[in-house]
Symmetry: C2
Subunit: 121 residues, 2 copies
DNA sequence: CCTGTATAAAACCATTAGGTTAATTAACCT
DNA sequence: AGGTTAATTAACCTAATGGTTTTATACAGG
């Protein structure tokens, strides 16, 4: 599972980390600032940051005693590109539902009357 | 972490599961068909399917002794919507790099000559 | 009814993830 | 030098993940 997309998706699969990214939309800030909204120890936030960093979603630079973090959205473009392949599926939802219902109906005809025949154990 | 987006992202953070979704773009098929390309036991694939199902990314229906799976892309729309918020960041990458470099330069000026002053321990 | 096929459930195992507290490093400021 | 602030590392815990093998269930068809 060390492919890039998997690492990115895994990094995004946590609300704390997504909140951190969201916060970074407002601009660069320190680890302390990032940690402040969460009821969680600093080391915990630090770990989240390392996950985001390994995924290439943030970068840090040293600024005196602070670590300033900024967002790096490159991997999110990969997510977007991957997701696009499925756009027509969700946009066609109702059509597909129709299709599915028709398919069900066809099946129904094939199995004619014996539908609920199973023993209910 | 039981929010919907986290569950969806977690479900997508595995190449096997993404391959399964990709396969389902071609249309409904049985668990056995889905399992065939993978060097992995059927129960393992079954577990992946349950993860996808809990995320609402697939649905199953019974067809005689087969379980026919189909894709449900609704949650992928949520992923797409979430990701869109970051589009301008990745599209502005170069501009931001400029900005960052300028910022660095400003910083450099502020700290004038004392840059590499630190003891190297 | 029995047998084969398709799939899920159970029990188990190793690894990873997300959190904690305590200790350490790094830099600033007198 | 000493103290404070910022953040990471280390060591540890628990629960979840991803896989296995073995057992059970549901259906089809002679």
């Amino acid at each position: 599972m060390p492919d890039h997309l998997s690492i990115t998706f895994a990094a995004l699969a946590d609300p704390t980390r997504r909140a951190i990214l969201s916060r970074l939309l407002l601009g660069e800030c320190s680890v302390g600032d990032l940690a402040e909204p969460f009821e969680m120890s600093m080391p915990a936030v630090s770990k989240h940051l390392r996950v985001l960093e390994r995924a290439g979603l943030i970068a840090q630079r040293r600024d005196a005693q602070w670590r300033r973090c900024r967002i790096q959205a490159g991997p999110l473009k990969e997510v977007s590109d991957w997701t696009e392949r499925y756009r027509e599926v969700w946009e066609a939802r109702l059509d597909r539902l129709d299709e599915y219902v028709q398919q069900l109906a066809a099946k129904e005809k094939k199995t004619h009357g014996r539908k609920q025949r199973g023993k209910q154990r």
